[in-house]
Structure formats: structure tokens, C-alpha cells
């Protein structure tokens, strides 16, 4: 049996550092919000693609004046300067395509942008135009916040209810608190990592990110509940004199194989989505992956450890 509970000091330090760093990142840089929450336009365009020809063109410089080379990011920005697009952002992506983002969402503006781009390449194609008006983005933001609050509330109530019969040796609400702390821990770290992804890899968070967060909520609690269930069962089985600490540690060990295996299977499918699932669901899965990893970790090293810490503190209070 691995004595996990004894080493809780290290996990507290590890988690503490990660959580504080994440909060700092959130406050200093903040998440990079996508058009879902900010309003604005996202336009993906595809220029003529002839990569193979391009390579030969490089060898035989300028022989074929018809050869087409997709405009670079700077060229596009320069071209669109006259339109005075607010916070224009251009990203080149594979196969001669580019993603344009700007605040403001009117059809006229979008048409003007397309007109300008046609000047580079007559056969430029719009592969995607999304735009979200400000009234919608405000509503989405409100809904997202509501959803997170409601989920946390719903889960907290559920845990308090599920553990209502377990009141030894610590009151049932403390299980709830421990589960919620673990959950907050997972969410905060996921947010922190996405601040970094936004800062350095231009990953924007939209409605799908909120869906991922809420799924992490569900998963994290699911994982914690399984461990707590085992603790509950072992407490009922054990003679009441058995050390609480030992019961918790035993329960963690008994559920360890399950925790790791379940996380592994979920991680396997998530990695499959990240690798093969295409661009649109990639970061959705990355968010889930981060959440699952920390969700598994926290149910063992944070939630269960917290139960023992709380128990110890109460014992001390009693002794004094």
C-alpha cells in the first residue's frame, strides 16, 4: 500500500503553486476571448493552392509570372488598412489559407474585405464566415456565467445530499467542501493553462470552452465521488476505532487502479480526438484532457487529503 496521505504536504505545495500561478495569469493576462464572447467576425479564406508549383517556381525564379503565392500576414493587413477594421488579426494557416478576425460584424464590411482580398487572387474562396453581433455575444457571456454557477451549485447540493448519511468522523458537508475545492482547483488550473495557450498560441476561448469546463466539473466530481464512496463504505465496515487517516489511505489505494484506468481510457479517446479530430475540436479536447488529468490527480491528492487535514484540525481543537 502506498502511503499517499502522509505525503500530502508535497501535493499541497504542488497544487498551491499551480493554482496561484493560474490565478496570477488570469488576472495579469486573462483569457483570450473569441468572437462568441466579444462579438465580431471570423473569416477563413482559401487562396489558390498550388504548393507543388510553388516549389518549382522557387528554383526557376520568376519564369512563370502566373505562379501564385499566397499573401503573407503583413500583406493582408497592409491591404485591409483602409477599411479601418477594429483589432484586426490575421493568421496564416496551412494550404494557403488565412484566418481573419476583427471586431464589428456587418455584412457590408465583410463584403469589402472580400473585395480587397480578391485583388490578391481572383479565385480566393471564403471557406467560413462567422460573425456574432454584440447583443448575442453579451447573451452568450451571461449564459456561460449562469451555466457555471448553476453547475457548481447543482453539484454542491448533490454531494451534500449523496453524503448526508456519512457524518463520522467529520460532518457530511466537509465532503462536499473538499470535493468543491478539488473542483475549483481543476478548473483554475485549466483556465491558467488556457491563458498561456491564448498568449503564446493564439488559442481563443468560446462557447465550446465553457462546455469543456462544465464537463470537467462533472468529471472531476465523478472521480472524487468514487473515492469518497469507497471511504464511506470502508468507514461503515471498519471498527470505529480504526484511524480515519488509515481508512482514507486504504480507500485511495483500493480505488487507485480504477482511477488510473478510467482516466487512461478517457485520455486515450481524448488524445485520439486531439490527433485525428481536426482543428475545430482540438482545443475543446485539450481542455478536457487537462481537466481529466488534474481531475484524477485532485480527487486523490487534494480532495481526499483535505478530508484528513480537516479531521486532524478538528482533533486538535478537541484536544485543546
Amino acid at each position: 500500500m502506498i502511503n499517499i496521505i502522509d505525503k500530502r504536504k508535497y501535493s499541497y505545495i504542488f497544487s498551491g503553486v499551480l493554482v496561484i500561478t493560474s490565478i496570477t495569469l488570469l488576472l495579469v493576462w486573462g483569457l483570450k476571448l473569441g468572437i462568441d464572447f466579444k462579438g465580431g467576425t471570423l473569416m477563413e479564406v482559401q487562396f489558390s493552392s498550388n504548393q507543388a508549383l510553388e516549389e518549382t517556381a522557387e528554383n526557376s525564379e520568376a519564369e512563370n509570372s502566373e505562379e501564385f503565392k499566397a499573401p503573407t500576414r503583413d500583406e493582408i493587413i497592409e491591404k485591409l488598412k483602409d477599411l479601418n477594421l477594429e483589432s484586426l488579426n490575421v493568421q496564416e494557416s496551412e494550404n494557403n489559407s488565412a484566418v481573419l478576425r476583427y471586431i464589428g460584424s456587418s455584412e457590408d464590411v465583410n463584403e469589402q474585405v472580400m473585395e480587397k482580398l480578391t485583388e490578391f487572387d481572383g479565385s480566393v474562396e471564403q471557406t467560413r464566415v462567422d460573425f456574432v453581433g454584440s447583443s448575442i455575444s453579451k447573451q452568450l457571456k451571461r449564459n456561460a456565467i449562469m451555466a457555471v454557477i448553476l453547475s457548481v451549485l447543482g453539484i454542491a447540493l448533490y454531494i451534500a445530499w449523496a453524503f448526508r448519511k456519512v457524518s463520522y468522523p467529520i460532518p457530511s458537508w466537509q465532503y462536499g467542501i473538499a470535493a468543491i475545492v478539488a473542483l475549483a482547483h481543476d478548473i483554475t488550473i485549466t483556465l491558467g493553462i488556457f491563458v498561456l495557450l491564448g498568449k503564446f498560441m493564439n488559442v481563443e476561448v468560446g462557447v465550446s470552452f465553457i462546455a469543456a469546463l462544465l464537463t470537467i466539473l462533472g468529471y472531476s466530481v465523478n472521480d472524487t465521488i468514487v473515492v469518497f464512496d469507497r471511504i464511506r463504505e470502508n468507514l461503515i465496515k471498519s471498527s470505529k476505532k480504526e484511524d480515519f487517516e488509515k481508512v482514507v489511505n486504504k480507500s485511495i489505494n483500493e480505488t487507485l487502479a480504477r482511477s488510473i484506468n478510467t482516466s487512461l481510457t478517457v485520455m486515450i479517446v481524448l488524445v485520439a480526438i486531439v490527433l485525428f479530430g481536426g482543428e475545430s475540436v482540438k482545443y475543446f479536447s485539450v481542455a478536457l484532457l487537462i481537466g481529466v488529468i488534474f481531475g484524477t490527480y485532485s480527487s486523490i491528492f487534494v480532495a481526499s487529503a483535505l478530508l484528513v487535514t480537516n479531521y486532524r484540525r478538528e482533533q486538535k481543537v478537541k484536544e485543546n
Binding site: 455584412e107 471564403q126 471557406t127 467560413r128 464566415v129 462567422d130 456574432v132 453581433g133 447583443s135 448575442i136 447573451q139 452568450l140 449564459n143 456561460a144 449562469m146 451555466a147 448553476l150 453547475s151 447543482g154 453539484i155 448533490y158 449523496a162 462557447v207 465550446s208 465553457i210 462546455a211 462544465l214 464537463t215 466539473l217 462533472g218 466530481v221 465523478n222 472521480d223 465521488i225 468514487v226 464512496d229 463504505e233 483500493e254 480505488t255 487502479a257 480504477r258 484506468n261 478510467t262 487512461l264 481510457t265 478517457v266 485520455m267 486515450i268 479517446v269 481524448l270 485520439a272 480526438i273 485525428f276 479530430g277 481536426g278 475545430s280 475540436v281 475543446f284 479536447s285 478536457l288
Partner: protein, 578 residues
Amino acid sequence: MPISKFWNIIGDMSIQNKLRLKFGAIIVLTILAVLTAYPKTVESIPFLYNFFSKPEINLGLDLQGGYRLEYEVDTSGVDDNKKDDALQAAQDVLERKVNATGTSEALIQTVESDPPRIIVEYPGATSADDLKSKIKETPYLEFKEEKNEEEQQAEIEKYNEMFASSNEEAKNKAQEKLQEIKDGKSFGEVADEVNGDATSGGRVDDLDFVKKDSMLPELNEVIFEKGLADGETYGELVETDYGWNILYKAEERGEGDAREIHIKDISFQKQTAEMYRDYWIYKETGLTGKNLKDTAVVFTSQGLSEPQVQLKFDGEGKDLFAEITKRNVGKRVAIYLDGEIISAPTVQTEITNGEAVITGNFTVDEAKELKRRLNEGALPVPISLVSQQSVGASLGKLSLEQSLKAGVAGLIVVGIFMILYYRFLGLVAAIALFIYAAMMISIFKLSGTLSNWPITLTLSGIAGFILSVGMAVDANVLIFERIKEELKSGRGLESALNEGFRRAWPSIRDGNYSTIITSLILIWMGTGFIKGFAVILVIGVLFSMFTAIVIVKIILNFVAGKWLEKRLWLIANIKQDK
């Protein structure tokens, strides 16, 4: 055979036979699910293939390409109790519009919010321009009547108050220019200045030779009564209803009735409520484009034959129009098209036949075009496009392929993992997982035929599905770990199996509740991406519990027996005495 008898027979069966029946049911279920999910397995048997290949998965926009347009409906001008009607009418009009473009799959729904919105989903389309322009040209037709005296008076006061300061400014400007002339500049010089300066607010007119009494009385009096000399500028500003004028007499000719004076004029405009009469005089009548039944192009019978657009109202519209015309005899009723007055005829008499004509100096083509637009439906309320999402068809196909690949890869690797770790139990779980996948795909396909809630599979839905595969395994992992524990503690195989299922159940249940709670909240929040994900996650969680608990248990009970009891290494490393 009555159902109760059927259950009696089952009740009387031995445990062994019951188990056989259950196992048989699972095999039938599996075969049906596999055939529905992948009809190609029976491609060589045409009648089966035809039967099973009928249901298809309803793919979302992001997987087959297409557009999603969101329109905001401005119901601010409509009475509260009529808002729903107006919204419904607007939705009907859009539906007709969309159908006119030839896609019946387009989905149109209204979203209750403030302001309300109408969402048009248009799958399979390569471009939304056609649809958007069709919707954009949808006329917004409205009939308005004049406000009553009191209301008019209030508007006049409001407007005049609004114009007071700008009028004062115009007057001062005019005074200034007149002063310049008095101070020695010529009229021509000042006129050029005014003309050259677009911001001056003044305008210069050469009125040419005018006859007596052909002008506004204020101007007439100065021009003909004040005895100006040729080349003289009148020394005071002349105020009319329209502004302040500086008058200049160039020359004069003729005598008596033939007397004509050549006048030039610098004027600074006055703004009065009267000038903006059309903007404030009319109020809503409740009669809008939604009450149109039919439109036709007709020609006036008198004089030059001019094209007109004739409107025929439906029952409600007929009554409304009769009331409106009755109370407005001698007054004007304005017909607004897309927020602008196109004609405002004076009502001669009450019209009870529910017909009206729009005359608007149309050419024949214009009249025909308007008729077509109106016939395709006129909106009772203005709408505007507030959000658009689009996915190119090729991108959609790519996403579908990629996510299918991800799903298959995920399933295979999870299956291999389970077999390696849990050996025989894992094999059963892998088979159950396979059945689970086939069942889920069947549900996607059958949801539209068997229920009123067709599931639209989107990219996020596939993500939810794949995630649920991972979670489906969780229940089995919990159970198998328990079974292994029970075996290790020395229980016999059969009781270990039963005990494993029994004791793992609370954890499975509690854990899945939390996922269901969050998913339900997501569905409630529900738009697009999130909803698709959550709906499938909930269905996935429910069915995964079914496969992991019911199906796996039946299979294990059926196949486990003495042979397995002797080979417990197939389940875990357990020391066996024999």
C-alpha cells in the same frame, strides 16, 4: 397471447432458461444495432439492405457544410399582446423565402429572448448569399394612419423645440451675409462665397424672371411692392416658412400684367415640424404585410395607363382595413415599404372589399418586381442579421472523416487496453463497447423516425460520443476492480461476479449523476455546439450504464462457468489451489 400470460411464462422459467432468454435478447439487439448502424454488412441481401439503409444520421451544419443565420426581430413597435403573432408571421414569411430557394431541409426556429430571434439553418449550402439576399429583399410592409389633433400638436411642439437653436443659427448666418453686402461686397461675391462653402448652410438660386403673384406672398411683396432698383439687394432678411432670404433684383422687363423681374436669392433654410410631417404624422394601425393574401399588377383605367400594385388582404386584414378607412375618410393613410412611405393616398370612402392599390410612379418592371416580393411574403416587423456561422462543405466532410477516424481509433485502443489489463473480463467489456457504439449510432439514425426529437449529429456531438466511450468503460473498470477484489478475498467466481456488480453500483450511479446534472444544465443553456455535445453525452451516459451493467452482466453470467472457474488467471493473477 395476452401479455400477462407471457410474463407468467417467463416467471415460471428456470434461472438457466431466463439467462438463455436474456442472452438471446442481447444477441438479437446486437444484430439489429449492427445492421442499423452499418447496413453494408448485408449488402448482398437486397431486401434487408434496403430496409436497414433507410434511416440516416441527421448531420449538423459543421459536418455537411452549410449556414446558420440568426436574425433579430424588432418587435418594439408592436403591442405586447400581438408580439407572438408578429413573430410567427415573420417566421412563416422566412420559411416561404427559404423554401423558394429550393432547400426543404432548412430549419427555421424562433428563439424567445429579448429581442426575439429567428434562426435559419441551411445545411448543405455552399453559399448563403442567395438566401441572405432573398431574405434581405423581403419587404416590410405596414399601413399607418394620421395621428389625432392632440398627438399632432404634441409632435409639432416637440419638433419645433428641437429645431429652435439650429434655426436661430441659420438666421444669424443670413443676417451676417446680408451685413457683408451692406458693408460693400457685391451680391455676386457673397453668393460665390456661399456656394463655395459647403458648410455655410446657405444656398444660392437664380430664380430667373418671375411674374407677379407667382411667389410666396412674403417674397412677392418685397419683389414687386418695395420698388427695388436693378442691381439692388433688399436691405432686410425676408422670412418665409422655409427660411430667411436675401433678395437681389437683377433687372426687370415688360409692363402691367407682363411685368417680370429677374431675381436672385441667397437663402438659409429654416427647419419646421411641418417639413418633417411625414416622419411624425403617422402611427401604427396593426395592418401589416402579414395580412396580405395576394398581390397583382393592375393599370389605372383613366388617363395614361400607369402600373399600380394591387393588394388583397386576408380576412383579418380586410376588417382592419375597413375600420382604418372608415375612421380616416378625408385623411391620408400611408403605405410604408421597408420603413419608407411609398404612397399616402387620401381616403375617399370606407373600403370594405379588402383591396388597396399602391401607386408610386412605378415602371411596369418595378411594379412586377414589387408584386413578386410582396407575394413571397411581407414582414410584419423589421428584422436584421445579427450572427452568421458557416462551414464549407469540404471542411464539413473533412471534419466528419477526421472525427470518425478519431472515434474508431479511440474505440480500438480502449478495447485493446481493456483486454490487456482485464483479460477475459476486458474482452467482454470490449465486446460490450462495440455493442454500445452500434447502439448509439442506431439511436442517432432512428431518433428522427421513432421520436419527435431527431438528434442532429454535430462535431461537438461526436466529441461527446467519443468521450462517452471513455466514460462507458469507467463503469466496467469499477465493476471489474471489485470482482478482482472479491476473487482475491477468496469468493467463488459466481458470487464474486454478482458481488462486484452489486457493490460497484452506488459509485457508478453517484458518479454518473454529476455528469448528467452538468449535461442537463448545458442542454438548458443550449445553443449549437454546447447542446449537441450535452445531448449526446447524456444519452451516452445512460446507455453506457446499460451496456456496462446489464449487457456485460448477462454475457458474463452466461459464459462464465466451471471452465472459467478453473482458469481464474484469465481474470487476474490469483493463486489457485488446484
